[in-house]
Symmetry: C2
Subunit: 78 residues, 2 copies
Amino acid sequence: MRYVVEVHLKPEVSDPEGAAILQAARALGFDFLSDVRVGKSFEIEVKEGTEEKELEVLSDKLLVNPVVETFRIRRDDD
Amino acid sequence: MRYVVEVHLKPEVSDPEGAAILQAARALGFDFLSDVRVGKSFEIEVKEGTEEKELEVLSDKLLVNPVVETFRIRRDDD
């Protein structure tokens, strides 16, 4: 069973890396972008029978800085 | 319209950051994990009418190192 935990900065936190990518993309002619935000994506393989709740606890304790980041968990069936 | 471009190391490329997280998680008692891989997640806001194909070109040129990374694009409707 595989899950993906996606971690992003909260909307009110500024993201200089995303801003730099946006600027570089526009300089290269990609004018269809209006915003870019950079985050992390954790691909996590878990043992059968693991509940999503357990992954939430793990994310809170180890993967996310709750002061500036939020996260989403989704099952990855690809 | 928002898309997420998820970038991960290819399976054959070693991921020391993921390995460190796996080890730390087990030391904290999270024994339900069998593998952790760390990647990036780009949240990209695009203008109406932008096609996914254009995002593929952007990802290839600017966001991904095709030698060691792969990517997936998905529409983000949350």
